[in-house]
Amino acid sequence: MKHLLSTLDLSRADAIRILDIAEEMAAVGHREVKKLPALRGRTVVNLFFEDSTRTRISFEAAAKRLSADVINFAAKGSSVSKGESLKDTAQTLEAIGADAVVIRHWASGAPARLAATDWIDAPVINAGDGTHEHPTQALLDAFTLRTHWAKVRGIQSSGTDLTGMRVSIVGDILHSRVARSNLWLLRTLGAEVTMVAPPTLLPVGSGSWPCKISYDLDATLAAGTDAVMMLRVQGERMHAAFFPNAREYSRRWGFDDARLATLDAADSAATIIMHPGPMNRGLEISSGAADSPRSTVLAQVSNGVAVRMAVLYLLLSGDQQRPAGN
């Protein structure tokens, strides 16, 4: 593995290796001194062309726990300013001596483009690109799911995958990089996936994806699911006629208190509710659901740091010299 650009090209062996190392990294987070010397003297640049405080802080915490130096580079507004191109920025980072670039970009494919050119030699980590992928989010979701799935089955999680697990991804699939990354990774790890959304929020062509597609959240829940992953609905989309209004959306595709009660009544004790955050409470998820014992929202956040530590460690430490597939 030279870069982490997508989960589509991530092998099962690499994915499990990242999750296993993340488990070790999570243990560090529970120590009194939450720091490893592994990346001392290395420089990680957080190159953010799009705001995301949550993701940036998570990567920053991960790098710092590995003793790396962190440079935060917010290239805001460069979508309109022709003066500063991705190429110029990359060449600047190369000259500075960046050892890894964590890039968040509004344009799908920008990290792949950066990795494919000779503008910079450092490993590139995709921290979310347009509506394409968000591989570390998928990895932290998989980490959260694996921990839960192992507990359900009463086994150790290390080394295992998600074979047999049923995961439902619900909401704005069309604009969601999280949904895409999760689908590929969950399939690689053996889970069954159902996408639930209004037809307007499913991409044309998603019919060929390796998942079930449903327009009906209640039917999906009734069929039984081990995890429900709710996606964020972006406010600005509501005016673009993807659905009539927030009320109708939330009635049909939101995880509300009534659906929570249905889960409880159906004795689906083991079903968890996930959300990548930030949440629109009352739209795609009710407060009751978000704060219920089924919710893994906060666990996902802390797992995010461990997973990103694992990725940085794998791409930057001497460990990558060992054959790791790909």
């Binding site: 589509l8 979508s79 191109s85 991705l86 190429k87 970009h105 509004w106 344009a107 799908s108 494919g109 920008a110 792949a112 483009r113 494919a116 050119t117 690109d129 347009g130 509506t131 394409h132 992928e133 990089r177 895409r180 991409p203 044309v204 062509g205 998603s206 060929s208 994806w209």
Partner: protein, 443 residues
């Protein structure tokens, strides 16, 4: 015009049996056995063209020369050099320059730049609407009456979307037998579109450009053309559905012609997985099934001509993120090879068909009097000689165009233009640019 005479020996007209050809004073003076025996052959420069295929000079209905306004991307001079090297003797320069070619002044400027350069005939295309804004008709008549004698009108790059305006344009140009060349793209269905809409765009997270956005406009426009009985030309057809609509329209006798680009005959959307903006083009690369439908339509005459949509860009317009990148590909210097590769080597068309789709028919659509003519005595010597057996690897840096944005970079293709004769003068010799036709100061 040149006074020099050339005796070209052993080339095969349209791929048929070898025949000698004598060019004197810009015209074909003799053909076959009598060429060498002709009185004027004595002083002629003899060129050995054995094994080469002789074709009428290619005519492009769809070239972006970028001048005026974007001389950093291409100039009339560099664009027409590229055209000559690619085997063309005439190109239509699209109107989306800056300023837009929407007045007699701008089209005459482009025309005279072409005249002065002397590499090929430059026929300016006039904008249908003022500033390509889609609101008011341009001075279509003034452009038609100008020295540039504009007959093809297009807002290419933008669709003439307003149906009333499209109808009026179609009706109005009948006064001088003009043709409206439509860039068929329903704007609302393609807002922010980045690539073909389908399975690949779903995976890549790029906003889709659905086939129906092209097909809906073509369907509307063939009906408008029928209603007002006028000539309509469809630029760069890219989908199987468009082909079906055009076939239907032709069966009904509607005066519609259509073009396909070389790149749409070969490349598919699968290439976009690289996110390399060299593959970003409008209309976008489509599916394999579309490519096959386009080839079949070109072979059966549903699609009439090749249009290169040569669209050079400076490197910074492509050395960036996919979403930021400009749309377009260069095409003048690879057109012949790509068509040979996709259509001739697959057995779908002959070299005679090639002459029809790259020369005779485009010249007829653009009403070019001395282009696209038969290879016969007395005709203007606008000719191209091709080594069909040659193979070459495309190197954008070895091209005459300023644009390096060739989607065929690194690809091995068949067919090399050995020489191009423009009004009897070799603009290309031995595969290299020679000299342009000297101007006589008759601008």
């Amino acid at each position: 015009m040149s006074n020099t005479s050339y005796l070209i020996r052993g080339a095969r007209p349209l791929g048929a049996a070898p025949a000698d050809l004598l060019i004197v004073d810009g015209l074909i003076a003799a053909l076959g056995a009598e060429a060498a025996a002709h009185a004027a052959a004595g002083g002629a420069t003899v060129i050995d063209a054995r094994g080469q295929i002789m074709l009428p000079g290619m005519v492009d209905l769809h070239t972006h020369l970028r001048e005026p306004g974007r001389e950093d991307a291409e100039t009339v001079e560099t664009g027409t050099r590229a055209a000559a090297k690619g085997g063309f003797t005439a190109v239509h320069a699209m109107a989306n320059s800056n300023p837009v070619a929407d007045t007699a002044g701008v089209v005459e400027q482009v025309w005279s730049l072409g005249k002065r350069s002397g590499w090929v005939d430059v026929r300016p295309v006039g904008a249908v609407t003022v500033g390509l804004a889609g609101e008011r008709l341009s001075e279509l008549g003034a452009m038609a009456d100008s020295r540039a004698r504009v007959r093809v009108f297009s807002d290419d790059g933008i669709c003439v979307h307003d149906p009333v305006l499209m109808r009026r344009a179609l009706e109005y140009v009948k006064a001088f037998d003009g043709v409206i060349a439509q860039h068929a793209q329903e704007p609302r269905l393609t807002e922010d579109a980045q690539m073909n809409e389908g399975e690949v765009s779903a995976v890549l997270g790029l906003v889709g450009w659905p086939a129906v956005a092209e097909e809906a406009i073509i369907a509307r426009d063939v009906l408008l053309a029928q209603h007002v009985d006028s000539r309509l030309h469809i630029c760069h057809v890219s989908t199987a559905g468009s082909v079906d609509i055009i076939r239907w329209a032709k069966e009904r006798g509607i005066k519609v012609t259509a073009e396909v680009t070389p790149h749409h005959l070969l490349l598919t959307e699968e290439l976009v997985r690289s996110y390399d903006p060299v593959y970003k083009v409008n209309p976008p690369l489509r599916r394999e099934a579309d490519v096959m439908a386009l080839r079949a339509a070109l072979a059966d005459g549903t699609i009439d001509v090749i249009g290169t949509d040569h669209a050079p860009h400076p490197s910074e317009a492509k050395e960036c993120e996919w979403a930021q990148a400009a749309m377009g590909m260069t095409g003048l210097e690879t057109a012949l090879s790509v068509v040979q590769h996709t259509m001739i080597e697959t057995g779908m068309i002959s070299w005679a068909d090639f002459a029809r789709i790259t020369s005779t028919t485009p010249a007829a659509i653009g009403l070019l009097a001395d282009q696209g003519r038969p290879i016969a005595v007395g005709e203007p010597a606008n000719l191209v000689f091709v080594d069909a057996d040659a193979r070459w690897i495309v190197d954008p840096y070895a091209m005459a165009t300023k644009g390096r944005n060739s989607p065929f970079k690194g690809l091995e293709l068949p067919g090399k233009v050995v020489s191009t004769f423009f009004h009897g003068h070799p603009t290309v010799l031995d595969g290299e640019l020679n000299t342009p036709v000297p101007t006589n100061g008759d601008l």
